[in-house]
């Protein structure tokens, strides 16, 4: 504290809203093992720093309806002579921003995912109920013959649909409570909320149940038409064979190319193109979600990997309490086990291009940095030029500038110069929104030659313990960041909270894909059991009969794979853009493994479904099925 070591007794553990998300200075990610906020008595702190009555941060609460921007400007004006670093509103408060973005992410998820799920459920219910009505046409005819009205019979099936919908909705409410509770626990731990009460909101349940019932009704009601149009006499007669006369003639060359089982597969697909299309789209959507999620996951990993192998190649980052003369670099080099030392100067600054501005900082680097570099789009290191500023791509985009443009930089440290520089280039940034200048140029602008804010070190791992001990013992050192620890902290952040959504989405993709694939297979089996039994009676082997059934599934899956891949590509881009902020950027990458893994998952779902249905083909009771009138 003020360059001296002091001992304190911990009086209590507290939480404050502005530090729910608290990262070490100059870093983006929280890491409790290295950084914490400590509250202590104002006068004791003032005495320790020998600055009675001084303050370096003030919180304002505004009257209702106050114009925030005007207040910020006024506050800046008042604090300007004292070296104020600039007032900012609640929306720019880092902790608030993280949590607000997190909540916004949850809101988006809650609006996008349930409709997709309900649409798939409605589609599946539609198919199941239509199959059921076809299978029970005889009973429908009988009831009508007894004098039941179409409405009464239709109501019977509608009740069935509602039973499924309400049952599902109830189960959904239960899962909702369980899921909500566990999510609240995750958030409570992650953001260190003192408490986070999961409130059961009756409105949410009403919405959920209503949406489920409506989706189910929409899925089922179309089918009920069939109940109304069926007359008793027709219903009680054996169903006429399904009419395939308009489903693809397949003459000419196809005549010689296709055998009859293949023909049966293709005719069935051609006869119900809408159903085939919906199944294809459903499976493709499931696959697309998988592709996107695998891609984003890989992109997260690549982001971290690149950041710590291409950009930041140091083992240790040192941050000094205040800028020090650059001879400290020589002192650091003399520590046993330190292989390489690279100084940097960093200052808080506001970057402006006309109306666009960004509150960030400038990093002053050496001409040819080796330990912490800027890399171009081709990932080759970029030299730091004397005559301009190198911007991270996210920042250049945000400010709307390109190389050659002029940028105004308001330095918020020291003499607080306002400088105008040329954008010398754009660097590929993965994490943060950096702006790089040559350290000498930055110091010149500050009129503080030879000052460094910190240094990057490459060290001998075998001596790391001793080195850390020495560094942490240096009073001028405010922070020692070990690359491996920082990387672990970053990975943790990307893996929890919003990042964890990708696991949820992957699970959802799996459920959708398997649900549709399995349902298609099961319905196909139910509708064709008699045909399959006939084929077996004629002398088709189990495998040959199963081909007729599973061929259709295979065609649907093969159609879905390329569509899913293309959809996945675009979905991956959208998701990457959604995850990217000015804090970290998730590159939209083409990860071939993502497509392979998603395709493999779809094929696996197909194989499992096929296997489950194939078992039923094998167990088919030939005699009973052949005699059924269908």
């Amino acid at each position: 504290m003020n360059g001296a070591r002091r001992d304190f007794r911990i009086a209590g553990l507290v939480e404050a809203p502005e530090f729910l998300f608290s990262a070490p200075p100059g870093e983006l990610m929280p890491d409790d093992s290295r950084f914490a906020v400590i509250w202590m008595n104002h006068s004791a702190l003032a005495a320790a720093y020998d600055m009675d009555g001084a303050f370096n941060e003030a919180l304002l609460s505004l009257t209702r309806g106050a114009e925030t921007q005007a207040v910020l400007r006024a506050a800046d004006r008042i604090l300007e002579p004292y070296g104020g670093l600039g007032a900012y509103g609640l929306k720019d408060q880092i902790s608030n921003r993280f949590i607000t973005e997190e909540i916004a992410g949850l809101v988006v998820t809650s609006r996008v995912v349930p409709p997709v799920f309900l649409a798939v459920a409605a589609f599946l219910l539609n198919i199941v109920v239509s199959r059921m009505i076809r299978a029970e046409r005889e009973q429908i005819g009988l009831l009508k013959a007894f004098g039941y009205t179409s409405f009464e019979v239709g109501l019977h099936y509608f009740k069935f649909i509602m039973a499924i919908a309400v049952g599902g909705a109830m189960l959904g409410c239960l899962f909702g409570v369980i899921g909500g509770r566990s999510l609240a626990t995750v958030y409570q731990i992650y953001y260190k909320f003192p408490f986070l009460v999961f409130r059961v909101d009756p409105a949410a349940f009403v919405t959920g149940v209503a949406a489920s019932v409506l989706a189910a009704a929409a899925g089922g009601i179309l089918v009920l038409r069939g109940v109304f149009t069926l007359t008793p006499a027709v219903a009680m007669r054996a169903a006429a064979p399904a009419d395939y006369s308009r489903a693809a003639a397949m003459g000419g060359i196809l005549r010689t190319l296709l055998d009859q089982p293949s023909r049966m597969v293709l005719r069935r697909i051609a006869r119900e193109p809408l159903r085939t299309l919906l199944a294809v789209i459903g499976i493709a959507a499931g696959m697309a979600i998988s592709v996107a999620m695998v891609n984003v996951t890989a992109a997260f990993d690549i982001t971290v990997e690149r950041n710590f192998t291409l950009v930041d190649r140091s083992d240790v980052t040192l941050a000094f309490i205040e800028p020090l003369p650059d001879r400290v670099i020589h002192d650091l080099r003399r520590i046993a086990g330190v292989i390489e030392v690279e100084p940097f100067r960093s200052v808080p600054a506001v970057l402006r291009n006309g109306p666009q501005s960004y509150r960030g900082g400038i990093s002053g680097l050496v001409a040819e940095p080796r330990l912490n570099r800027a890399v171009g789009a081709d990932l080759a290191p970029l030299p730091i030029r004397e005559d301009g500023v190198l911007l991270g791509s996210a920042l250049a985009e945000l400010l709307g500038v390109a190389p050659g443009d002029r940028l105004e930089i308001e330095v918020r440290e020291g003499r607080r110069p306002v400088i105008e520089v040329t954008v010398a280039g754009v660097a590929e940034t993965l994490i943060g929104s950096p702006a790089y200048m040559r350290i000498e140029a930055l110091n010149r602008a500050l009129k503080e030659p030879g000052r460094v804010s910190g240094a990057w070190l490459r060290i001998d791992a075998a001596q790391s313990g001793e080195i850390f001990r020495k560094l942490r013992g240096m009073p001028a050192v405010a922070g020692v960041t070990v690359a491996t620890e920082a990387r672990a902290a970053l990975e943790k952040v990307m893996d929890s909270g919003a990042g964890a959504v990708r696991y949820l989405m992957t699970a959802i993709a799996a459920v959708i894909t398997f649900g549709i694939v399995y349902n298609s297979a099961r319905i196909a089996f139910a509708e064709r059991a008699r045909d399959l039994a006939s084929l077996r009676a004629i002398g088709f082997t189990r495998a040959e009969a199963a081909f007729v059934l599973l061929g259709e599934l295979a065609v649907i899956i093969l159609l879905a794979l390329p569509i899913g891949a293309v959809l996945g590509y675009f979905m991956g881009e959208a998701v990457s853009a959604g995850f990217s902020t000015d804090l970290y950027r998730v590159p939209a990458l083409f990860v071939p493994e993502g497509y392979g893994a998603a395709a493999a998952a779809v094929l696996l779902a197909g194989m499992v479904s096929g296997w489950l249905v194939k078992r039923d083909v094998d167990r088919l009771d030939l005699v009973a099925t052949l005699k059924a009138r269908e």
């Binding site: 006369s245 049966m264 039994a533 006939s534 004629i538």
Partner: protein
């Protein structure tokens, strides 16, 4: 008994000379569904010889066991006990795969509800079988045999019940089966159409030499058979041999 007698190419090896004369021979053939007091005895020891090339009609009330016998002889179902031989080959101990080969190469089926593939035309339904048979008839020829040469490219939905049943017969005979099993082939047809279908079956029997076994409720059908087997309570009550079968057209029902 060990593995069923099969040879490469999938047809059965005949363990007795073909000149033996019997298509089927059963001894003590029994079929029981379920167990305990709820058990249903569909066949209670059936001893029967069916000479080759005959037209055989199986008559009897519902549940008397005639369809069960047909299903076992046709390789669709398995006996509980006893022996059933097709030209000397034991059917009761055959593996599923061997029964499939048996149905594929030796047997044709005609069902009450036709069991055509709705997604295939008449010709394609016949081709379904000719594609997997060793020495099939030309599909068009098979359809001509049942008088449907002008309906080759019609789908089942575009054919009448009688026409569908004739396609089913063409499909069954196209593989040149040694045996043709017909389970209530006229059960869903009116009398005129039914007669026409029986006529086709009689022609097939005469022209191809296939043994034809028909299960039916229609006692009048007996007049066209070489041999009439009466069933009751899972047993054969009577076997009548008809020296001069009547043409199908003359049958009254």
């Amino acid at each position: 008994m060990g593995r069923p007698p099969v040879r490469q190419g999938g047809t059965l090896r005949l363990v007795t000379p073909a000149s033996d004369g019997a298509a089927f021979a059963t001894q003590g053939l029994t079929k029981t569904y379920g167990a305990g007091p709820a058990a249903v005895h569909a066949l209670r020891g059936v001893d029967l010889d069916v000479p080759r090339g005959e037209m055989v009609v199986l008559l009897g009330p519902s549940g008397s066991g005639k369809s069960t016998l047909l299903n076992i002889l046709g390789g669709l179902d398995r006996a509980t006990a006893g022996s059933a031989r097709f030209r000397g080959a034991e059917l009761t101990t055959m593996s599923d795969a061997a029964l499939t080969r048996y149905r594929r190469h030796h047997v044709g089926f005609v069902f009450q509800f036709y069991n055509l593939m709705p997604s295939l035309t008449a010709r394609e339904n016949v081709e379904l079988v000719t594609e997997i048979a060793d020495d099939p008839l030309d599909p068009a020829e098979a359809l001509a045999l049942v008088g449907l040469e002008s309906r080759l490219d019609h789908f089942p939905a575009q054919l009448s019940g009688g026409e569908q049943q004739r396609v089913a017969i063409a499909r069954a005979v196209a593989k040149r089966p040694e045996v043709l099993f017909c389970d209530e082939p006229t059960g869903a047809l009116d009398s005129t159409t039914g007669r026409a279908v029986l006529r086709v079956l009689q022609d097939v029997n005469r022209e191809t030499g296939a043994t034809v076994m028909i299960v039916t409720h229609a006692a009048a059908t007996a007049a066209m058979a070489h041999r009439v087997i009466h069933f009751a309570d899972g047993r054969i009550r009577e076997v009548a041999v008809n020296a001069a079968p009547a043409p199908a057209e003359t049958i009254e029902w």
